[in-house]
């Protein structure tokens, strides 16, 4: 179920259309530059496979529910990012036109959320580094899981941003995020399972399809696009974090207090707000940047420094990750 036109404003829809259209043109040029005629029927058939695979449900181990493959990440693994993006765009277009699944003006948004993020962010930045060049079943499955989860989280966040910026739905940003992200975490796990299952099967049945797929034209590309992508992803995530932080900046609370005479605006006393507030209380690890129930002064400082340590560890992990990506590959001794 993709985004509908009804919740989108022309400005947001038009912008995302422009972005997706530009990317489509670029990918079309890249695919033509590959000069691989076999790619044309393969892309069509992969799109048809995706449609069919969406109708095959599997039960998720551990829970009682079932799910199906989305396919963006799998396509990127098999065809390489530019071709995979075009296939995803075509599948979404057919879904929008024939099944009314996703609006026509929202197609730009849907192509961006479901195409760009798996093919150009999740695949090169997460799957490839984790799975590595030599195929190993467990690693590839884990890589697929991680890449699928992150890709879907980013996609869901994109939907939230686009809907909120359009201003037609009254759903506030925070509630929408709290609603979408957990649901898409579950969907991401499902996608990870499905992709991992297929990648694992291919590893045994036809490993050459996975390694240096000739259709993917193992591009000896420089690290620059990877770095740029990483910077963009980091900026997006950083922006998300700072957006969260800025929904309750002290300045706002201060100005609201000045205007209304109260410390914080009263939320309507209804069940939805109460439920969401409770959910927020439960999920906030470090509300207001300190450990909860810190009353005495030393405890309060401990709370603040805990937040600092947490943030510091996160920054360290990010730095390590960037370092891992930048590491020089040990040259293979020539066989001469």
């Amino acid at each position: 179920m993709h985004m509908a036109d009804a919740l989108l404003s022309p400005a947001v829809g038009g912008t995302m259309w422009a972005a997706s259209a530009g990317l489509t043109a670029w990918c079309a040029r890249r695919v033509r530059a590959l000069r691989d005629d076999r790619l044309i029927p393969m892309m069509g058939v992969m799109g048809a496979f995706l449609f069919t695979a969406m109708m095959i449900n599997f039960s998720i181990p551990g829970t009682g529910s079932s799910g199906h493959l989305g396919g963006g990440l799998l396509l990127a693994i098999l065809l390489g990012p530019p071709a995979a993006f075009l296939v995803i765009a075509s599948v979404l277009a057919v879904q929008a036109l024939f099944f009314a699944d996703g609006g026509l003006l929202a197609l730009g948004c849907n192509i961006f959320n479901l195409g760009v993020l798996p093919a150009f962010v999740a695949y090169p930045l997460l799957y490839r580094p984790i799975a590595g060049r030599t195929f190993h079943g467990g690693r590839a499955a884990a890589a697929a899981m991680v890449a699928a989860i992150v890709g879907l989280q980013l996609g869901a966040f994109g939907v939230v941003l686009e809907t909120t910026c359009s201003g037609i739905s009254s759903l506030p940003f925070r509630s929408f995020v709290l609603l979408m992200q957990p649901i898409h975490l579950a969907i991401g796990v499902v996608e990870g399972f499905a992709t991992a299952a297929l990648v694992g099967f291919l590893a045994h049945a036809r490993p050459e399809a996975l390694l240096t797929m000739p259709l993917a034209a193992a591009e000896r590309r420089s690290l620059r696009p990877v770095l740029l992508g990483l910077v963009a992803a980091a900026a997006l995530l950083g922006g998300a974090v700072s957006w969260f932080a800025s929904t309750h900046p002290d300045g706002l609370e201060w100005s609201v207090a000045k205007i209304t005479g109260r410390a914080a605006p009263d939320s309507p006393p209804d069940r939805v707000h109460a439920a969401l507030a409770r959910a927020q209380e439960k999920t906030a690890l470090l509300p207001d940047y300190s450990v909860p129930q810190a009353t005495s002064a030393p405890a309060k400082y401990a709370g603040k420094s805990l937040a600092g340590v947490f943030g510091g560890l996160l920054a360290l992990a990010l730095a390590g990750w960037i370092g891992y990506l930048l590491r020089t590959r040990t040259p293979v001794a020539s066989k001469l």
Binding site: M1, M3, A4, D5, A6, S9, P10, G14, T24, A25, A28, D37, R38, I40, P41, G44, V45, G47, A48, F49, F51, T52, A53, M55, I56, N57, F58, S59, P61, S66, L69, L86, V87, S90, V94, L97, F98, F99, A100, G103, L104, L105, T163, I168, S169, S170, L171, P172, S175, A194, A197, L198, G200, F201, L202, A205, A209, P268, D270, V272
Partner: protein
């Protein structure tokens, strides 16, 4: 079986697109551009607008009537597509509770009005998209889009996807049927079996693609896919596009429903 149902759907819409009618005889580009303008106008209304959206129903109604499309079928497809919009739109009445309108003893909040507006927009946009496909058919639609600037690779991709959807769907339906027979019709497969089943389908699809490629080579494929040139636009297309665009702009600028209401009021 779900797979079969789905691809009969797709086939039916293309069949409708190949009918003959005054609308079907228009150039595909005319319909694409007019529908795009329609969508932009509908989406540009402010949140609480209801009455001004009503005159815009004229466009899908006239097209369905002139093209001879089956109304029940289209309504069912719109209903099937409704869940997402309803789900998100339903938050509006819950969050926006300031009463705005009094009808007898019932006080409607702003949230309900914006929810109704969302539903109306949804209905208009989805119907317009379905009507577009049912009036052009996938071949002419892709050719028209390509003439309007869609990259050739993507237009070809959509056509191939459409063509092989039935082929791969057939394979998938056969595999699902064999699994159903061997598993007492279980609805969801265990994970490992899914991997094998879907994996085999994937392998068959890839092998199919390679066979198709060799068949194309044997028939002289040289890398360039040639798409049939569609009709050239005539005066009818210009009249259609200009007329509807004027109507959309007028409906956006003035609230035609309100004007009509006032006229009726004066008469009565």
């Amino acid at each position: 079986m779900a797979v079969l149902a789905h691809y009969f759907e797709v086939g039916r819409m293309d069949e409708l697109g190949r009918m003959q009618s005054p609308i079907h005889r228009l150039d595909a580009r005319t319909l694409i551009v007019t529908t795009a303008i329609f969508l932009v106008v509908v989406m540009s209304f402010p949140r609480y607008e209801i009455s001004a959206l009503m005159p815009l129903f004229l466009y899908p109604c006239v097209l369905i009537a002139r093209a001879g499309l089956p109304v029940g079928y289209l309504l069912r497809k719109v209903a099937l597509a409704a869940p997402f919009a309803i789900f998100v739109g339903l938050f509006n009445p819950l969050l926006d509770r300031h009463p705005v309108v009094q009808i007898g003893t019932l006080a409607l909040s702003g949230g309900w009005i914006s929810f109704a507006s969302i539903l109306l927009r949804f209905f208009l946009t989805v119907t317009a998209a379905l009507v577009l496909v049912c009036c052009t058919g996938i071949q002419r639609l892709c050719a028209g889009l390509e003439q309007l600037g869609l990259p050739r690779v993507l237009a070809v991709q959509i056509l191939f996807l459409y063509r092989y959807f039935f082929v791969i769907g057939d394979e998938g339906a056969r595999m699902l049927r064999s699994v159903a027979i061997r598993s007492a019709d279980a609805q969801a497969l265990p994970w490992r079996i899914y991997g094998t089943l879907a994996g085999h389908l994937l392998l068959r699809a890839m092998d199919r693609a390679n066979r198709i490629y060799r068949a194309m080579l044997a028939r002289g494929f040289d890398g360039e896919v040639r798409v049939l040139r569609p009709t050239t636009p005539g005066w009818r297309d210009a009249v259609f596009a200009a007329g509807w665009t004027l109507y959309f702009v007028a409906a956006r600028h003035w609230n035609l429903a309100e004007l009509a209401g006032r006229v009726l009021d004066c008469r009565l």
